[in-house]
């Protein structure tokens, strides 16, 4: 029989060393006890951006409230910063951790990293916590180390075999993803493992600490660390997966804690989701204002995480935003050209910004005290989305396709006009144009028929250097909205030698549809069929001629039938076309 003290130890899983493969997991009592140990956060009204410059590498502390540089020191920073109480820590060069004063940037102390082991990331409160991983041919060995912030001397070192990710710390509890399925919770003072959560359904790639507690997750969403975590499942846990309006958006909830490359400022800082959990009761997890934000280089989008709709979009002019953070009422940002600013989280307007003149590689924000006083009204989203699509920066096709998708969901003639402009524009990426074309077809906006006709009115003209664009799309749209007034224009394109052959098929199809309501549509079809029925240029692809014949047969009455019968039977007609038309005519027509 166990003694009460032993039972307590067993319950807490303390008989096993940290990161033991045999440690107990998903034990509600361990989780509850760990949650009870979390010390309440001390609210601090700070609003500092730590900016890392490119060459030469400097660390700059920028006061967001005062709008001025507090200090700047040379520093060979090779990781994202961890902000502790009164200090910042970072990897310096390849081989050490450096701790600096937040008041001056002065170097407080350094700590040598294990040579040959990969650095995965760090966290800080009163102490500094970092993890490393070494791999030889057979085994993978990881360690998580706690350092005194004053002297950089080790407080404790936990070692284990298997993969260990970058840590997070909240209220004295250090959490780290372990072996892809687990999150291990450690006492910050002793390094003892106090709880372990094992996710049954998916990989856990991050842990994150916010004022609202500890959160962990993978590609599909975010779990709150609470007693429900013991289920190990999404359904049983406090879990949220944001809804997004498009599958074009590939981003991640947080940096992958197992990836050494993501420990530093990289492209992952420029293309990620920003979110903050809402202050909530004892259970469940929701996002603040039900919002999740996508920062993708120069673009920001706000989504309703519940409905999956776009709330606003913002395009940063000219240069990439290298760092960003959601601080509640605002999204703070730092751009490559040194501009630092705040985007109103409610409207997507820039609440303020300052030029620092620095060339930035990355930024970390310690700005729980930053808030926007007064929200500005959001600018019309269609204008922003249109600007995104029209952006000459050719790198972001997926974002532009998404912008078109979002635009297409908005009503109104102005949106139709914007979509049409995209379809007709030169130099737009084909996937963006085809998405816009799809949207125009789907809208069936009959009110915009004059716009389509105006576009169809453009004909090839060598002297005026004019080239019609997207005639195939316009033909399909004209047929979809059944615009009889487009017949003459479509007919002219059908018989225009400058019209590309693949486009002829779409025009012919449209004219067949329109000939149902306007018989004049049959004339160009007839001219096309007779002019090219013997033309070897149509041998491999007679689809447009087949369409023309079918249209004449369907809507041309006795005269149309007679003409198609003649073409089908005439020996010089292209064999494939003749066969098609004979089939369309039925069994009575035979080649003589």
């Amino acid at each position: 029989m166990k003694t009460p003290l032993l039972s307590l130890f067993l319950l807490a899983g303390c008989l096993e060393p940290p990161f033991s493969p045999h440690a107990r997991d998903n034990a509600v009592e361990d989780i509850q006890q760990t949650l009870r140990r979390i010390q309440p956060a001390i609210a601090q009204k700070r609003a500092i951006a730590y900016l890392v410059t490119t060459v030469p590498k400097h660390l700059v502390a920028y006061d967001l409230l005062a709008g001025k540089v507090l200090w700047e020191v040379p520093a060979d920073i090779t990781s994202r910063l961890a902000v502790g109480r009164g200090f910042v820590a970072h990897r310096q060069g390849a081989g050490e951790i450096a701790v600096r004063e937040t008041s001056s940037g002065a170097l407080r102390c350094t700590h040598g990293l294990e040579a040959g082991a990969q650095f995965l990331g760090m966290a800080a409160d009163d102490q500094v916590y970092y993890s490393q991983q070494a791999q030889n041919e057979q085994t993978r060995r990881s360690h998580l180390v706690a350092l005194r912030a004053e002297s950089c001397s080790e407080v404790w070192r936990d070692e284990g075999s298997g993969s260990l990710g970058a840590p997070a710390v909240h209220g004295g509890i250090v959490a780290a993803p372990f072996a892809y399925q687990n999150v291990v919770f450690l006492d910050g003072k002793s390094g003892d493992e106090v709880a372990r959560v094992r996710a049954i359904e998916e990989s856990i790639t991050f842990v994150r600490a916010t004022a609202e507690g500890l959160f962990y997750g993978g590609n599909s969403g975010v779990f709150r660390f609470d007693p429900k975590s013991a289920t190990g499942t999404k359904a049983g846990s406090s879990f949220i997966a944001a809804r997004f309006p498009s599958d074009q958006l590939h981003s991640f909830y947080y940096w992958d804690a197992y990836q050494p490359a993501q420990a530093d400022y990289t492209a992952f800082d420029r293309n990620r989701l920003l979110w903050l959990p809402a202050a909530s009761g004892s259970e469940g997890v929701t996002l603040r204002d039900a919002a999740i934000y996508l920062h993708s280089y120069r673009y920001f989008f706000a989504f309703d995480a519940t409905l999956g709709t776009v709330r606003w979009a913002y395009v940063h002019p000219r240069v990439d935003v290298v760092g960003s953070d959601d601080v509640g009422s605002a999204l703070l940002f730092a751009a490559a050209d040194g501009e630092v600013g705040a985007i109103d989280a409610r409207s997507g307007t820039v609440a303020w910004s300052r030029k620092t003149g620095l060339r930035l590689a990355g930024a970390t924000f310690d700005a729980s005290g930053y808030a926007i006083d007064k929200s500005q009204p959001a600018p019309p989203i269609e204008a922003t989305l249109t600007a995104i699509v029209a952006d000459p920066d050719a790198r972001f096709t997926a974002i532009k396709v998404f912008a078109v998708e979002a635009l297409a969901k908005l009503p109104g003639k102005a949106v139709t006009a914007a979509l049409l402009k995209i379809v007709l524009a030169e130099g737009v990426a084909p996937p963006v144009q085809s998405k816009a074309a799809e949207a125009l077809l789907h809208r069936r906006d009959t009110e915009s028929a004059p716009l389509y006709r105006e576009a169809l009115g453009v004909r090839y003209d060598y002297l005026s250097d004019r080239q019609p664009r997207a005639v195939d799309v316009l033909a399909r749209v004209s047929a979809a909205i059944v615009d009889p007034q487009a017949v003459e224009l479509l007919g002219a394109h059908l018989l225009d030698p400058a019209t590309p052959r693949p486009t002829l098929k779409e025009i012919a199809k449209a004219l067949v549809v329109l000939s149902e309501t306007k018989s004049e549509a049959l004339r160009p079809l007839q001219d096309l069929l007779l002019s090219y029925r013997c033309d070897p240029a149509f041998t491999t692809d007679p689809a447009s001629l087949e369409q023309a014949g079918e249209g004449l047969l369907r809507h041309g009455g006795a005269e149309g039938h007679r003409l198609v019968s003649f073409v089908a039977a005439e020996p010089r007609t292209l064999p494939r076309l003749a066969a098609y038309l004979r089939k369309a005519l039925g069994p009575t027509v035979k080649r003589p």
């Binding site: 060598y462 002297l463 018989l495 030698p497 007839q526 007779l530 240029a537 005269e559 005439e570 010089r572």
Partner: protein, 262 residues
């Protein structure tokens, strides 16, 4: 639709019984034109094209209206040019837009021969064709017809560095054309500008003399050997006793001296 209907009716008529000798000959030719061997069909089409008389002409129009292989169409279109029959307009209007540039070219040439005023619009439109040869025959036709309405489009063609426009502009140009060309100095390649101005000066009906002087002055400003050659040609052409004292002759002489003969 009328032409097609007629064409199909003619097909039926020729296939039926009683007919004259001409009709019989035409029926034979028709069969030969409509045979699958394209070379033989083309030869038959050429023979048809050579035949005089309204029945042959109607048959040419019918064959073009109901469609044929491009080689046959080409032979038949060539026949329409020298016939200069206004009734060909409808068929030609279709063929000036044919996807085959050779057929377009032949149709434009034939269209250029039609006295029908409707031809002018189509010929001007052909100046905007994507194919140089088609633009070229359209320009030639407009120049030959001296269609003043085509001046703006032809000058535009010159600004596109298209040689086809030179003769045409020179043929239809007047005093105002010369002034416009002077204003386009630098926008039109020097050699084309020089050749066009030279073409204007060669015309006996171009003038009056002060305009000729202006044209020679403009020519004098155009750099390059083409302009020098044009000035020398003009000097030679006006060196007779009657012309020696003309302002334009003297201006040409002066310009050549200023250019140092180059």
């Amino acid at each position: 639709m009328i032409r097609i209907a007629y064409g199909l009716a003619a097909v039926a008529l020729l296939a039926s019984g009683a007919r004259s000798e001409e009709e019989t000959n035409l029926a034979v030719l028709k069969r030969e034109i409509e045979q699958p061997d394209e070379s033989k069909a083309r030869e038959a089409a050429i023979r048809l094209a050579d035949l005089e008389g309204p029945a042959a002409f109607e048959m040419i129009l019918d064959e073009l209206a109901i469609g044929a292989p491009p080689k046959v169409q080409g032979a038949l279109l060539s026949a329409l040019g020298y016939r200069k029959e206004p009734r060909a307009w409808e068929v030609l209007a279709l063929y000036v837009r044919n996807r085959n540039p050779e057929l377009r070219k032949k149709a434009v040439v034939a269209m250029g021969e039609l006295a029908d005023p409707r031809a002018v619009g189509l010929l001007i439109a052909a100046l905007s064709d994507a194919v140089t040869e088609v633009r070229s025959v359209a320009a030639q036709a407009l120049g030959r017809r001296r269609e003043a309405a085509a001046e703006a489009a032809l000058i535009k063609l010159l600004t596109h560095k298209d040689e086809a426009a030179v003769e045409a502009v020179a043929a239809i140009g007047n005093a105002s054309t010369a002034r416009k060309l002077g204003e386009l100095f630098g926008q039109i390649p020097d050699s084309l500008l020089a050749e066009t101005l030279s073409g204007l000066l060669k015309r006996q009906d171009f003038g009056p003399e002060p305009i000729r002087v202006e044209v020679v002055k403009t020519l004098g400003k155009v750099p390059g050997p083409s302009a020098t050659e044009a000035l020398k040609e003009y000097l030679a052409a006006t060196s007779g006793e009657r012309d020696k004292e003309r302002g334009s002759h003297l201006e040409a002489k002066k310009a050549i001296e200023q250019r140092g003969g180059h």
